[in-house]
Subunit: 323 residues, 2 copies
């Protein structure tokens, strides 16, 4: 049944900011607000959010106009509606965020993790529009993923499917990961990973590079990007290494669900061909023959600021309600 | 709509034999026959099959009693109904096997690859009964896989999803695989892989092992199994190595679809704890914290001879027909 109410709310819950958008059926964000995520307990946080939300809800005609709300949050679990043990958020244990918003707002609320929300956004409004099988790979501080099979997000047995950033890609002498294991994809192919590669090269060799002008601990992936664009061969080789590793990893991922496309999103994709060229090359060289030449490697065309909110809001449209 | 006809046909198409079973709604194989797969062209092969089938079809009351037919075949593609470029079969190119049987028999026919058929069998009749999310791993000459998400086999964009035997698990100095790439899981964790490990140890070291009594080229995984059961430490270490590698690989696979269980099937599972103990240990040590303690590692309880036929036949029940 098509939703009769004209709007949904999307919430992109980040470690620093919580951004809300009221979105219409044409994926236009017609009203927006945000609060600092902060260090409050969940109850106080939700109250602050609802206060800010009420203003924009009234501006669009009141809660009667809102069909539902979708939340994208780190460690958000679609099945339970909870944010579970999220390392980047101030809350301990499992927080039933979907239910807390439902009670306060009086509309249905669903929640998923941020990468799954991004995948929803791509499928409904982005470069994956019309695709039934694709993988979303978010390259930010960490590496997130949302896997779409047969037009639906893969949630798995417990709601935690799609953690491709924690596939171990270096079994031997892999980098220490925040998850406690070693060699995870995100220790190499995230923004943090790129900075780490630079620090590693600088501190373990004598090679000449502009990056030495920056205090070691301050180097960011953006510094490496700028140096690479300026022709610094070491900085270029770091992007080459990063792209190759990601391409090899994706070639393996394809054995799982043979996606029509990979959609890359997030800070690191701003480096464009610097990342994508070695990525494509390594993918083509490493993918199983059956799949060769079939899979598109795409960069998201949604802009960072609205993609997460749109993705979260897209979840809202999938909720059935009778009134 | 429930099928009104009482039986389905299952075909397990192997490199050597093609085994047919007529199966009732209680998963009982009520009639069985087989032909040599042989080297004939597809047309002649199908004619031979149909001739053999007619005898058992008549025995159960004629084709009017048969709802549909399911085929499990190497490189079988569910979407196209074709066997596509199968290395172990004598046919060149793509063979529209489902349609060929449909025309000859006058019933609907579906086809999938052998590991997907095995997964169907486990889901309908085996240890995965009632599960919505699990992975089937077949450990035979090669390593095959069938991935079930949300109660359905994952076919992906082209019908070739679920080739986990070709995930590259050793990037550095990996073993040459039949697929042309190096380091694929199946070069280590198949029956062939175990024999290869034995040959490698014997030919590159001076270690003492009973396996030296066997001509190098003749060593099979069963020889390694027997030697291990006899207390040969080298043979034991080979199973240890194999199980560990498979456990590490499965720990990575869990990041995709967070399955409720892995179901292992095929020759190599006959080694029981010799394989499963190091497998479980490596899995537990390597899986991401979110998933720890959640996933069952099971050996199929279906017997080899009937599992493939039952699995293929299970596909038949999923076909809708009006009459």
């Amino acid at each position: 049944m098509a939703a009769t109410r004209p709007y949904v709310i999307g919430l992109d819950l980040g470690g620093t900011n919580s951004v809300f958008g009221i979105v219409d059926k044409d994926a236009k964000i017609i009203a927006q607000t945000s609060v600092k995520t902060g260090k409050d307990d969940p109850e106080t946080y939700v109250n602050r959010c609802v206060e800010a939300l009420k203003v924009i809800i009234n501006n669009v005609g009141g809660i009667e106009k809102i069909h539902a709300m979708g939340i994208g949050a780190p460690n958000g679990n679609f099945y339970s509606g909870m944010v579970e043990e999220a390392a980047n958020l101030p809350w301990k244990g499992d927080v039933p965020l979907a239910r807390m918003f439902e009670v306060k707002l009086g509309i249905p609320v669903v929640l998923t993790n941020d990468a799954n929300a991004a995948a929803m956004g791509e499928m409904k409004y982005g470069v994956a529009k019309g695709m039934k099988n694709f993988m979303m790979i978010t390259l930010g501080t960490g590496v997130g993923s949302g896997i779409v099979v047969d037009g639906k997000i893969v949630y798995g047995s417990d709601g935690f499917a799609g953690e491709l950033g924690h596939v171990i890609v270096e079994k031997h002498k892999g980098r220490q990961c925040g998850c406690g294991r070693k060699g995870c994809l995100e220790t190499y192919c995230s923004a943090t990973g790129v900075a780490r590669s630079a620090k590693e090269v600088i501190s373990t060799s004598e090679v000449e590079t502009k990056l030495r002008e920056i205090p070691l601990e301050d180097i960011t992936s953006y510094d490496v990007f700028k140096a690479a664009m300026d022709g610094d061969p070491i900085a270029q080789s770091i992007y080459e290494f990063t792209g190759r590793l990601l391409g090899e990893a994706c070639a393996n991922f394809t054995c799982f669900s043979s996606p029509e496309a990979y959609v890359f999103f997030g800070g690191l994709t701003k480096s464009g061909d610097l990342l994508m060229e070695p990525l494509r090359k390594a993918y083509d060289e490493n993918v199983l023959r059956n799949y060769r030449g079939k899979t598109k490697l795409l960069i998201s065309a949604l802009d960072d600021a609205s993609a997460a909110v749109l993705g979260a809001s897209a979840l809202g449209w999938d909720i059935e309600r009778a009134d």
